[in-house]
């Protein structure tokens, strides 16, 4: 039983991968339908109010998916990551691991890597579903731009898992880790309101998938990508350092 297999079993046996995959897939399938039929939906349930919508563009299908996935999907990803990375949420389990490995990196890196892979995989499935349905219902979305947007979104999600690891190194429960991480992640866009700051922040990548299929240049996200990669790496390094120095 390796620590890598342990993390795989955690996702499979606790069915956390199902929750993640379901959420992203659900919104991937729902987004383009909503974009395509929003007019009919409002007409049917609008109580006689007439609202005119412009004809949907292919980008609208992806926009709907990104809007939902960046909220509910992100929350589920944070919960799943916190469940794996809150090493001391049960102190006796923390003791079991801490007293057996020479470096906490041996424990945290598999947890970080496997969780990131599953989060990114679920995001990929959701993106593929949104793409397929958009093409079928609305129109073509350029695959190259979709792929580039997905990569930028995936980089942001890996950064999110690193932030969870950092927060978990200082908190003592899964719930506290989730709440503190969400405060940080929701605080970044607020900080981004400051002129010229937003395009440097990791939160700029949240809408990158949407932006790329709408024709925004890749270079528009370059600064945020560099900052996100550096910040994520630093967060993971700090998580290992802080966890190692922590008393249990």
């Amino acid at each position: 039983m390796t620590l890598w297999r342990l993390e795989w079993l955690r996702l499979v046996r606790t069915r956390r991968w199902v929750a993640l995959t379901f959420v992203y897939l659900f919104f991937g399938l729902l987004g383009p339908i909503t974009a395509r039929y929003i007019g009919e939906i409002v007409k049917r349930f609008g109580g006689g109010v007439t609202v005119s919508f412009p004809d949907p563009t292919p980008a609208d299908g992806i926009t709907q998916f990104v809007g939902n996935a960046s909220q509910i999907g992100l929350l589920v990803a944070v919960v799943v990551a916190a469940g794996a990375l809150s090493l001391d949420a049960v102190p006796e389990i923390g003791t079991f691991f801490r007293t057996r490995v020479p470096s906490l990196a041996r424990i945290l890196l598999p947890r970080f890597t496997v969780t990131s892979a599953v989060v990114v995989g679920a995001f990929a499935l959701g993106t593929l579903a949104a793409w397929y349905e958009t093409v079928v219902l609305i129109g073509n979305v350029p695959a190259g731009r979709l792929l580039a947007g997905w990569i930028l979104g995936a980089i942001y999600l890996v950064f999110v898992v690193a932030v969870v690891a950092l927060v978990a190194a200082r908190t003592s429960s899964v719930l506290t880790t989730v709440l503190a991480t969400m405060v940080i992640l929701l605080g970044l866009p607020i900080a981004g309101i400051v002129p010229d700051v937003g395009e440097w922040l990791p939160s700029h990548l949240v809408g990158a998938l949407d932006g790329m299929v709408r024709g925004v240049a890749f270079t528009e996200y370059l600064r945020a990508t560099v900052v996100t990669v550096i910040a994520g790496t630093v967060a993971l390094w700090a998580a290992i350092r802080l966890s190692s120095r922590r008393e249990s």
Binding site: M1, L6, R10, I93, T95, F97, R100, V101
Partner: protein
């Protein structure tokens, strides 16, 4: 094996450990005893590297990979089977034992029948035995066991005590407990903690002999009054207490005088002796006297 000098641990205003100087000999089974809140778990935590002392130092003669720790209430991810827990404990260490050790320790812990069941359904006693199995699977040189028998039924407790006794000479064991009979049975050295201070450290035998008073229990056929009179006339007898219709407790001025004269006095009084022996002093008697 373990030397701690001037260990102090402070949590805010609370002094959990106060200038502890611990000496655990190689190969010994060291009992760390004291009432709740005395500092046993804190001291074990510092030795295990899980907590940092406020001041003082700890030296351990083996590398961290040869130290295994059992918390007082072991818990594991509930979706793992017992076999997976032991295999995980075996493989994540730096010196993993051969794979067949997994079944060996599961058998020794009495968990062979439950080996493939998720540990989420285990009782506290089963978790304690599983924790102990996970602790010994890689045959560490130093074991730090925090209350390892406290949650077990009499059979489980016996198995744990036998296992700890078997480790003597092969590994060094530090064994914290408030069940003093367990400590007296398996430990050769004890440290007694009270309010964060180490009030005694040394061999169990020395501690008991130091506190032994020359008292003897005698069980006689009735009538016993002539024997009481004869004992009270003896100048080496300090006190004679009648504990029941046919039982006496005799306190002598010294062990030597009692050993040379008691039998003669009983014979002179024509006492019909059913049994005779020194009143045993238990670790419980001694420790209660030291910590209360």
């Amino acid at each position: 094996m373990i030397r701690a000098k001037g260990l102090t641990k402070r949590y805010g205003d609370v002094l959990a450990l106060d200038d502890i100087n611990l000496e655990v000999p190689v190969g010994s089974v060291y009992g760390l005893i004291g009432p709740n809140g005395a500092g046993k778990t804190t001291l074990l935590g510092i030795v295990a590297g899980l907590r940092r002392p406020t001041s003082g130092s700890v030296t351990i003669d083996v590398p961290p990979s040869d130290v295994a720790v059992l918390p007082d209430t072991p818990r594991f991810d509930t979706w793992l089977s017992a076999r997976e827990v032991i295999d995980l404990a075996r493989t994540i260490g730096t010196n993993p034992a051969p794979p067949d050790r997994v079944d060996t320790v599961l058998n020794e812990a009495g968990l062979a029948d439950a080996a493939d069941r998720p540990v989420g359904g285990f009782s506290r006693g089963m978790l304690q035995r599983l924790g102990l199995a996970a602790t010994v699977v890689n045959e560490p040189q130093l074991l730090l066991l925090d209350e390892p028998s406290s949650a077990l039924d009499p059979i489980g407790r016996r198995e744990v005590l036998d296992l700890v006794a078997r480790l003597r000479g092969e590994s060094t064991v530090v064994f914290s407990s408030h069940i003093l009979a367990d400590v007296q049975e398996v430990c050769d050295t004890v440290g007694i903690l009270r309010n964060g201070r180490l009030v005694y450290q040394g061999s169990v035998a020395h501690l008991l002999s130091e506190r032994t008073t020359p008292r003897y229990l005698v069980h006689l056929r009735t009538p016993i009054e002539p024997t009481i009179e004869a004992l009270r006339r003896s100048d080496w007898v300090v006190a004679v207490d009648q504990l029941g219709p046919d039982q006496l407790r005799i306190e002598a001025a010294s062990v030597a005088e009692a050993e040379s004269s008691l039998a003669a006095v009983l014979a002179g009084a024509r006492a019909r002796v059913v049994s005779l022996g020194p009143e045993a002093v238990t670790l419980e008697d001694v420790v209660l006297g030291m910590v209360t």
